[in-house]
Point group: C2
Chain length 398, copies 2
């Protein structure tokens, strides 16, 4: 039989092993870094990013720490988006999702089988903190489209910046449904918050990103959502209850496009894309910029347009070059959309029939029904908050 | 003082905790799956991939398990490439690298700080096996460009397929230097092995993939390596000893393009890109196809060209449509390169001067020195194997 001494030795040994096992599992594996350094040593996680300064791409990379980005939806696109921003050393990330990790998500990057069952935001936060403990996180495991959550979501957009009383710098929509996109659109129009929309088609072989500057570019309510046309049977795509296909490739590319344009916007290099599509079958990448619809259903969008026009009118002519200078093709159509495109209006009209005038390869996700004639014709979209339920009901009817 | 009973209880308790801690850390977190299923349940990691069949994109997704891909270089592009293929359920992966994980790699996707110090292939294999235990792995922690390793590398390309006596289906070059690319090119020309080249510029804002079919498209020795022009000072890029910049975005996009085209090639959908560039500053994506150089320095390339011409001549006219049908712009130039491009030869010649005629936005990584006049003028590139040292010496002189 074992002696007390034997057992004590065994306890010490086991405690040591357990501590080691737990440490490998839980401990933060690098310390926080107070200041980003350009020093070229193997132990510096920022050396390859700070090198962007020496390469003449970015003037002041350290600024990345001043920015806050909200990522709504941390699935196939959103999780990779959050990981890229974390590895780039973004100051603060807000994550919103209400889904759980499932084995059925393993065909996309980021989540691992041992995380199945965890909420996506919880699993994402754990992994991201381990990757970069310098990033600040706020995560919310809820659906932004319910009334109470929407109010809270609006508040976090308005006050979620570093320090806790400034707005976030950008909102990134990485959701997979119309209701959530419309809620983000409503919030961002009301708060005059710049945001990026992103999406991947249900057949997994196309995707897009779109930059929305309230009042300056087309919002999500100005026109039906745009998608890259993929030459597949539209009926297949629309069938209800069918499990959508997805690929880690398409989602990784869309996340890459999204974060690249976020970095260009935040750090001030290159040209930010207003719309960038990805057709994987043909490696085709439509781009365009769309002006907002003056008759947009969203009251706050129309308000932001007026404000933008006033700002533009007040500017001295020379200074107004933030927006990429391209020849603008004005073209009246049933959607009230004007756009910048290399394709002629005639080519598009022939190809798209009654749809908005769009660049080659891009089409609308669906056609808009005729407006209903109930009550006040000017109030089909209400303020956010109290009236969101009504808004949702209307969306359900679309 | 503790009694023997107390200590025994403590030992049992500690053993239980240790087992739990180790299990969370090491245990495979999902069992192998004998056959891919389309069943739409949360526990099926293949449901969203098998849905590609129902969506009309892929005829027989299960075939993915029959394929073997070799990934050379598992850094910023190669690790994400391997992860995407693993999540897609590829049959077998061969990984080659001789580098260690460092904190300085944390600005790109895949590796995590706790893996610092492990060899890249070891760290990658552990993570990938946990993500998908159905994939078969062979990993080699060596530099393919030394004489012995090159012989072994050639053998694994030739016999590394599933079953152990067939060649791999594709080789993917995800390396970051000229010598390794040239070694892959030499091996693939000799073995008539199809491969993809990939690359990211040192200023982190452009990248490309290129599909090489020996004898059918331009090999790496037919012309200087192509890069996407990025409007930055070339001198900055060429300076020796300067730490290159890198971004998770650009590398993720290039990996996405690479694996997407691998899937299109292996599973037979869409159009495989011969050259696809990515200019992140402007979201510009040049594409083209290049015919091989009849005077290529690589003897095996010239041999493969003759074989290809013979096969083409023997084919009935109707069947020869595997290669995308485009109007081919033949244009003699100092590089002997012909290419398929939407840009006219005149536009290009004006833009590129003495360089090969390339599609808009693409240029060569460097200009080729005049051939040296020592010995037999026809043998500047030797057979692989015994003569590789000489080849390396010549590369060093470039």
């Amino acid at each position: 039989m074992a002696t007390v001494e034997d057992l004590q030795k065994r306890v010490v040994e086991l405690e040591k092993q357990l501590a080691a096992a737990l440490q490998t599992k839980n401990a933060p594996h690098r310390d926080k870094i107070a200041q980003m350094s350009s020093e070229v040593v193997d132990s510096n996680p920022y050396s390859r990013l700070m090198a962007l300064k020496r390469m003449g791409i970015v003037d002041n990379y350290e600024r990345i720490r001043d920015f806050t980005v909200a990522v709504v939806g941390v699935g196939g696109v959103g999780s990779v988006t959050a990981e890229m921003l974390t590895r780039c050393g973004i100051g603060k990330l807000l994550l919103f999702d209400y889904d759980k990790v499932e084995l059925a998500n393993m065909n996309r990057l980021f989540y691992q089988p041992h995380q199945a069952g965890l909420s996506k935001v919880e699993a994402a936060e754990r992994t991201l903190r381990e990757i970069n403990p310098d990033v600040e996180f706020e995560v919310y495991n809820y659906n932004i489209t319910t009334v109470d959550n929407f109010q809270h979501f609006m508040d976090r957009i308005k006050n979620g910046g570093i320090g806790g009383s400034s707005p976030v710098d950008l909102v990134l929509s990485c959701v997979d449904n119309f209701e959530a996109r419309m809620a983000i659109n409503t919030a961002c129009n009301e708060l005059s918050q710049k945001w990026f929309e992103s999406g991947v088609s249900e057949n997994a072989v196309s995707g897009h990103i779109q930059f929305v500057i309230p009042g300056e570019t087309s919002c999500f309510a100005c026109a039906p959502p745009l998608v890259v046309a993929t030459n597949t049977d539209e009926k297949t795509l629309k069938r209800e209850g069918v499990c959508a296909a997805s690929l880690p490739t398409t989602m990784g590319v869309v996340a890459g496009f999204l974060v690249q344009n976020v970095l260009k916007y935040l750090l001030g290099f290159g040209q930010v894309a207003y719309y960038l599509g990805y057709n994987a079958l043909d490696d085709f990448f439509p781009t365009m910029a769309m002006k907002p619809n003056e008759e947009c259903d969203d009251r706050h969008c129309r308000l932001r347009q007026k404000e933008h026009q006033a700002r533009e009118a007040a500017k001295p002519k020379v200074e107004k070059a933030e927006v990429k200078e391209e020849e603008i093709v004005h073209d009246d159509n049933s959607w009230g959309i004007s756009l910048v495109s290399e394709t002629t209006a005639e080519e598009l009209q022939a190809a798209e029939g009654d749809k908005p005038v769009l660049t080659q390869g891009v089409t609308v996700a669906y056609t808009k029904p005729a407006p209903k004639q109930e009550g006040d014709g000017d109030s089909t979209v209400k303020d956010s908050g109290k009236s969101l339920e009504e808004l949702m009901k209307e969306m359900g009817n679309l």
